[in-house]
């Protein structure tokens, strides 16, 4: 049987798995299968610095080419088409096979496609890969009016870059506020204000009904409320679906992605799944969730690498995430889903604040804007069961920094308070 570890997907999850395996002392062969022919590269800058033209494609690469050979990592630039589980091997699109001792699926997710009339006109773009970003960055240079479909993170990051480049920007969003799936109402409101202040036009509670064009190129969009917006560039960011087909076709259990246990092992003990494609039990509740974030992919990569070198550990990292929209740096610690109270700390007028999200009076997430120190403290607090209650946070002198300092001085008092408000409501 082969002794090699095989990874399908060289995005953030797949790449970090390679790095972590070597860091933790794995000396065997590693095979990294990825159909994108670029050297493995970072995604976050695609909608930020790379889109602005501040950095080159080369600067996006995680590591130079020689890194892979130097570290006994074989890169295969082919598409994996099947997993032959009984024989423990991956089948590639040219019919060749790659045997594995353990297989890690880091296949990520793909953009939900736009299917409204006019979606196939020239000038309609998605944004996920380097190829997408290069095409879009080029198109943006000559665009005068941009329609962004979807006010999620990708849509807003691109909108901010397009606006800074001088284009007219319209953002069309189905929900009543931006980033509705992921952030609290106060943060949505602050961002709507701040981004509108730069001249971005928001159209909430609307869908884009059709894209119109002349001679095959986009000239405008029409919304469900009958608005006709001029646009010579349309960018859509309407969500993604996990790439679970390889796993499901091989009989591995999937639902909203590849289902894994708390050690990120799938229903096949020789197969792990991580990152955007994996549905895993949330540490606090045991409920299955799938997170779309670079940090989740990297943290899960490290967890699987530990499993394969030092022994399995429960994956229990506090989720965290960041987004950069113009001069707004948003960082989120924890998951705010299900929160029932929020509290704003800091100086929203100066775009420097944190929104604390509570559920049953227990702090479950902190959304920080231009407040990285708050974010780092929040990540530490959320990885502990000792957390400030809503009542404590309401006191005039409360800051995350002072609260954390006081827990170090008198831990017993805070343990008692946390026990009173009990963690899992």
């Amino acid at each position: 049987m082969s002794e090699q570890i095989v990874i399908v997907g060289a995005g953030h999850g797949g790449f970090q798995t390679v790095v972590a395996l070597r860091q933790y002392g794995y000396v065997g062969k590693i095979v990294l299968i990825e159909s994108d022919t670029h050297l493995p590269y970072q995604r976050p800058p695609l909608s930020k610095a790379f889109m602005k033209g501040d950095i080159s494609a080369e600067a996006l690469c995680f590591k130079p080419e020689r890194y892979y050979g130097d570290h006994n990592i074989e890169r295969i630039s082919k598409q994996a088409t099947a997993i032959d589980r009984p024989n423990r091997r991956v089948v590639l699109d040219d019919g060749s096979t790659v045997p594995y001792m353990h297989l890690i699926l880091a296949t990520g997710a793909c953009n939900r496609p736009l299917t409204i009339p006019g979606s196939d006109l020239d000038g309609v773009h998605g944004l996920r890969t380097l190829t997408d970003a290069a095409a879009l960055s080029h198109r943006l240079k000559t665009a005068t009016s941009v329609a962004v479909i979807g006010a999620g993170f990708i849509g807003l990051e691109f909108a901010a870059v397009a606006r800074a480049a001088g284009a007219t920007v319209h953002v069309i969003e189905l929900a009543g506020r931006p980033m509705a799936r992921a952030v609290s109402e106060p943060v949505s409101a602050f961002f709507t204000d701040a981004l509108s202040g730069t001249g971005i036009h928001f159209h909430f509670n609307q869908t884009t009904e059709r894209i119109i064009g002349v001679q095959g190129s986009v000239t405008g969009v029409e919304t469900s409320q009958g608005e006709s917006l001029e646009a010579d560039l349309v960018v859509y960011g309407i969500g993604v679906t996990p790439n679970a087909q390889l796993a499901s076709e091989a009989g591995i259990k999937c639902a909203n992605g590849i289902i894994v246990d708390e050690c990120l092992t799938s229903s096949d003990p020789d197969v792990s799944a991580i990152g955007d494609c994996a549905s895993f039990p949330q540490a606090d509740t045991g409920e299955l969730i799938r997170l779309e974030s670079v940090q989740n992919a990297a943290d899960q990569a490290r967890c699987v690498a530990k499993k394969l070198t030092k022994g399995a550990e429960r994956f229990a990292v506090v989720p965290w995430f960041w987004s950069e929209q113009g001069n707004l740096k948003l960082q989120i610690a924890g998951l705010s889903t299900g929160h029932d109270q929020t509290l704003v700390l800091g100086d929203p007028a100066a775009n420097r604040y944190s929104v604390l999200c509570f559920k049953n009076s227990v702090l479950i997430a902190v959304e920080s804007v231009n407040a990285p120190a708050d974010h780092m403290i929040a990540r530490r607090i959320l990885s502990s069961t000792i957390r400030p209650s809503y009542e404590e946070a309401c006191s005039k002198a409360f800051t995350l920094k002072s609260w954390e300092a006081s827990t170090k001085e008198s831990p017993a008092q805070h343990e008692a308070e946390s026990a009173r408000t009990h963690l899992c409501g």
Binding site: Y67, Q295, W322, Q331, P372, A373, M376
Partner: protein, 105 residues
Amino acid sequence: MPTISYIQPDGSTVSVDAEPGVSIMQAATMNDIDGIVAECGGNAMCATCHVYVESHLDQLPEMSEDEDALLYSAAAERKPNSRLCCQIPATEALDGLIVRVPQAE
């Protein structure tokens, strides 16, 4: 191209030529230097590129409030010469710069 040297906890030193326009962090990751991670991609939003700067201290760019706040959250002990090396561009003035990589946690 300025030469930057990175000293590992075990005392071993690797010197690299930094490409024009990159940060000390990017020069490290592009040359596969251990121990300097760029979790946030060089945006002063984490503290994983924390180093101890051993030379050219008065030629470093001023530390921003954000960097200052983040350094208190670094895994390794903060010292007076602690910096986030994603915030230090590799300029010619820093040719011969020596940084020490902290012990990993």
